[in-house]
């Protein structure tokens, strides 16, 4: 007999009743999504195929107890490759929604708003790719003001809001302005190497390298190159770039994902807008516009980022030799 009412009878039905959960049972476990997934590469416990199996087998509590179900950032690299046309991130969202209703919470770090600094200007709300930020009235220092608030269940900790906030009122754990600055300066790298090799600072999005070999190559770069990993190129405030250049870095390379492949949907486009405007400004100031460079690395660009960095180093070296 068919169900004649709409009450979900099992975990599977509950997920399938959520928007995005409808196609669950189409999955035939080919694993395409898993091997396309960048989260899975760094966090093998996050396995969307297995999660879908668990839902299909009504393994409710076990599904929720896996903290990685929250890791899907809806970058949607997998969706266009799925031979069954399943929108996996929508499905993961459906699972998260059921988990939230069951009282589970996202274990991910989330953006934090300094309520004293926040003016309620709303820039963050528009910048957030996940709709995790919104304004709410709150009494601060005896005055009622509209303050930005973070919905923890939606925040993916990409840091786009932290860069966007014109008052630096938002911080994302591990990637605060101070911690990024500390990474740039660590080991007195800038002061130390007076050896004549011009310094290159790379702000690298943590998601644009698919190949293990490329990740290895990034840790074997010459001493005059410093790589600062950030969750997203959209986390890069142009102030970071200018500060580094002022501190004596010869070139800043910002590496994001190819448009359409950004782990946080919008970040790479935002970075592109910022960095290319910086190029224009350097030009206007009569300076070499190429002191800041922006590259967008695609999932198929094996070897491209390390090669780009090494080319940049070689080019700088030859130009300084020529000047000398």
């Amino acid at each position: 007999m068919q169900h004649t009412d709409n009450t979900p009878h099992s975990f599977k039905d509950e997920v399938m009743a959520e928007p995005g959960g409808e196609l669950l049972q189409r999955c035939y476990s080919c694993g395409t999504c898993v091997s396309m997934c960048l989260v899975n590469q760094t966090c093998p416990d996050y396995n969307p195929r297995r999660t879908m199996r668990m839902v299909m087998l009504d393994m409710r509590e076990e599904t929720f107890r896996n903290p990685t179900i929250w890791h899907c950032s809806a970058c949607d690299l997998c969706h266009p490759h799925c031979p069954q046309g399943i929108h996996i991130s929508d499905l993961m969202r459906a699972i998260k929604n059921v988990a939230l209703r069951a009282g589970y919470e996202s274990p991910l770090p989330s953006a934090k708003v300094d309520e004293h600094k926040c003016s309620g200007c709303d820039i963050c709300e528009k910048a957030c790719p996940y709709g995790a930020l919104s304004l709410a009235a709150k009494t601060i220092d005896g005055k009622e003001r509209k303050i930005s608030q973070v919905d923890r269940s939606l925040c993916m900790a990409c840091g786009i809001c932290a860069a966007a906030c014109p008052l630096s009122a938002i911080t994302v754990e591990d990637y605060s302005n101070e911690k990024v600055a500390a990474q740039i300066q660590a080991g007195h790298w800038l002061k130390k190497a007076k050896s004549g090799d011009p310094k290159v600072l790379v702000f690298n999005c943590s998601w644009n390298l698919r190949a293990e070999a490329d990740r290895d190559a990034m840790s074997e770069l010459p001493a005059n190159v410093r790589v600062v990993n950030v969750p997203c190129s959209g986390r890069i405030d142009p102030t970071f770039v200018l500060t580094a250049l002022q501190a004596g870095v010869a070139r800043v390379l910002v590496a994001g994902c190819q448009p359409g492949e950004c782990h946080y949907k919008q970040g790479t486009r935002i970075a592109q807008g910022r960095m290319h405007t910086l190029n224009h400004m350097f030009e206007q100031m009569g300076m070499d516009a190429q002191r800041v460079q922006f590259v967008q690395i695609g999932t198929e660009d094996r070897g491209r980022l390390p090669a780009t960095i090494l080319d940049l180093v070689a080019e700088l070296k030859s130009s300084t030799v020529a000047v000398a």
């Binding site: 007999m1 035939y28 476990s29 694993g31 898993v34 091997s35 031979p83 198929e300």
Partner: protein, 618 residues
């Protein structure tokens, strides 16, 4: 092919296109057009002096474009006849071939296409399949990465008569690749491209891998698959042998291939599903097992032969289980991959079956057909009175009706399959369908709606789909309310507007018309004829004041018993929610208009009698 060409009773017409097909089972007339070869077949002896002097080189289609061919060429070594042909598009008319041919004087640029009519008793369609172009699957890099090739290309590289003389080399650097991978289901079992399983790729991939491993025991061979499908005789054993030989099988569909531009090597990323972990595998060459897809000209061929396509794009058989080699048009048969992807044994089996089905016709003086054909009442047909009409002919999916103004429409009974579309569409009720006459259907209607019609769900069902669906609901014990009253006709095309008016006139509570899904129609385009009619009818009924929820159109396949039951349950529910008094008032209010609509029904032969009998028994 060579054997066939030599057979005394077989004429092979190669390089020839079928342009038109007329007539019917046992009596087809086929117009064929032989394309100009620009080489005289009688004079050319296939010596091959012309080809080497030709200055043109273009990719050789038979060699999958790996090797070149000349503008004057033999398509492949087993071509029939083994004579040269000039590719007019590539030829620059330098006439070097003419000089080389010399005294034979076989080259003739004055040749024109030649048409001729053939009389044939039956037609077999063995047009085969095309290969899926994997370059649209961007993530596999075919066309971008030199060393990603298709299985068909491997066949040529691996062939001793092929462009490399059987020496295996990879495209980027002509080196022998020792570490190779095969990827299965490229373009099949993939809703972005083709949902179906191509069926024979698992076996040919295993064949290629085994062949390779036998010749090069040190080779490192991996096959990425989702499911290995080896359901025929001896196949599973062959698969086992491949595993025992050391060919690595990884269950997991690769998501992306990247290339190391320096080495040209490829990195395949896939989840080993058994392991539950993503792996990256380096390969020197990747072979894609591409889907078999319908030939590019399937549509054109289908309209010439008046046969239809299934949802997968291949030619549709008359019945998937009971008449798998017949096409919907009598006397036209399907063989091999034209009907669906098949391997060699299955193609041979179907070809043999089709040949014997065809031979039955060749050996018969008379042919028995279904008795449910359409028949014209010549005295009622306005065409006979010199008026222009011909609606019936435009609705016939089989071209079985001939209309000439001045004469009554004529049904070629041998071509008619009995969908009844012409009967329902004829504005003058001048056609009837044997065993589904208007009088018979109306009698049934009256019987079904005799008691408390306003409490009934009247369901018109087509024989092949929704009736099957209702049957399926019964055998599967999907319950639906007893208020349902079913009325079967052959096709939704037969469901005449007059029947529905009559049903409402009799006070039917709700009326369902149901038939096949558009792609499943047993009568090629019958469903479309019905669907167009119901669309107009829905509006007309509303204009007449009938509540929209009282009339419903649903497409239900023979497998959708649950859907049939659900639809009936919903309609019963709808009926229960209508206030009985309001319904009664609506029935009374709309009756005069409905009566006006059906006032000419008794003019149809036997209908008046049927109505009288119905009245007498009520």
């Amino acid at each position: 092919m060579v054997d066939a060409a030599r057979h005394p009773n077989i004429t092979v017409k190669s390089y020839t296109e079928v342009k038109r097909v007329e007539g019917f089972i046992g009596n087809f007339k086929v117009l064929v057009e032989e394309k100009p070869r620009y080489v005289n077949m009688d004079r050319c002896n296939g010596c091959g002096a012309c080809s080497p002097v030709c200055p043109i080189e273009i990719p050789n289609e038979f060699e999958e474009g790996i090797a070149p061919r000349k503008a004057i060429y033999i398509p492949h070594a087993q071509a029939v006849p083994l004579r040269y042909v000039i590719d007019e598009e590539a030829c620059i008319h330098c006439y070097k071939c003419v000089d080389a041919c010399g005294k034979l004087d076989a080259i003739d640029f004055s040749q024109q296409p030649r048409q001729e009519w053939l009389d044939v008793g039956s037609i077999l369609v063995a047009t085969g399949f095309d290969n899926f172009d994997p370059s649209v699957i961007k993530e596999y890099g075919f066309g971008r990465y030199a060393n990603v090739i298709t299985a068909m290309e491997l066949e040529r590289i691996n062939n001793s008569a092929g462009p490399t003389a059987g020496r295996i080399m990879r495209p980027s650097d002509s080196k022998f690749p020792n570490k190779i991978s095969f990827i299965q289901c490229v373009g099949s079992r993939d809703e972005r491209y083709n949902l179906y399983c191509s069926g024979f790729c698992c076996m040919y991939t295993i064949k290629n891998a085994v062949q390779w491993k036998q010749t090069y025991p040190d080779a490192d061979i991996t096959i990425f698959y989702m499911d290995i499908r080896t359901p025929s005789k001896g196949y599973e054993e062959f698969y086992r042998r491949a595993r025992e030989m050391g060919i690595r099988f990884i269950q997991g569909r690769p998501s992306i291939i990247t290339e190391d531009p320096k080495t040209g090597n490829l990195f395949i990323q896939a989840e080993d599903v058994g392991l539950g972990r993503t792996i990256e595998l380096e390969s020197e060459m990747v072979i894609l097992s591409t889907a078999a897809i319908p030939r590019v000209d399937t549509d054109a061929m289908g309209s010439v032969l008046n046969i239809s396509r299934s949802p997968d794009g291949f030619f549709m058989e008359y019945h998937p289980k009971l008449r798998p080699v017949d096409s919907p048009t009598d006397g036209v048969f399907l063989c091999g991959a034209a009907q669906s992807p098949k391997d060699i044994p299955a193609s041979v089996a179907q070809g043999s079956a089709a040949a014997s089905r065809a031979a039955r016709i060749l050996n018969a003086d008379e042919w028995e057909i279904e008795p449910i054909v359409a028949m014209v009442w010549e005295d009622r047909c306005i065409s006979a009175q010199g008026k222009k009409c011909g609606i019936c002919a435009t609705k016939c999916p089989y071209g079985a009706i001939l209309v000439e103004t001045g004469k009554a429409a004529m049904v070629t009974a041998a071509k008619c399959h009995g969908c009844g579309g012409c009967v329902a569409e004829c504005p003058h009720n001048a056609i009837t369908q044997k065993h589904f006459t208007d009088a018979q259907v109306i009698s049934q209607l009256h019987a079904l709606l005799r008691h408390e019609p306003e409490k009934k769900v009247l369901a018109f069902m087509c024989h092949w789909c929704s009736y099957g669906g209702a049957d399926n609901a019964g055998t599967s014990h999907f319950e639906y309310p007893a208020s349902q009253r079913g009325l079967r006709v052959m096709c939704s095309a037969r469901m005449d507007s007059d029947f529905i008016f009559e049903a409402f006139r009799l006070g039917a509570g709700v009326v369902l018309v149901s038939g096949c899904h558009p792609q499943d129609c047993h009568y090629i385009t019958g469903q479309r004829v019905g669907a167009e009619r119901f669309e107009k009818l829905t509006k007309r009924l509303v204009d007449m004041g009938i509540s929209p929820q009282r009339f419903r159109v649903e497409w239900i396949s023979a497998a959708e018993g649950a859907k049939y039951a659900q639809v009936i349950r919903e309609m019963d529910q709808t009926l229960r929610q209508i206030d009985p008094q309001a319904l009664k008032e609506e029935i009374e209010r709309t009756r005069p208009e409905l009566e006006r609509r059906v006032r000419r029904l008794p003019e149809i032969p036997d209908v008046a009698l049927a109505l009288e009998l119905a009245k007498a028994t009520s």
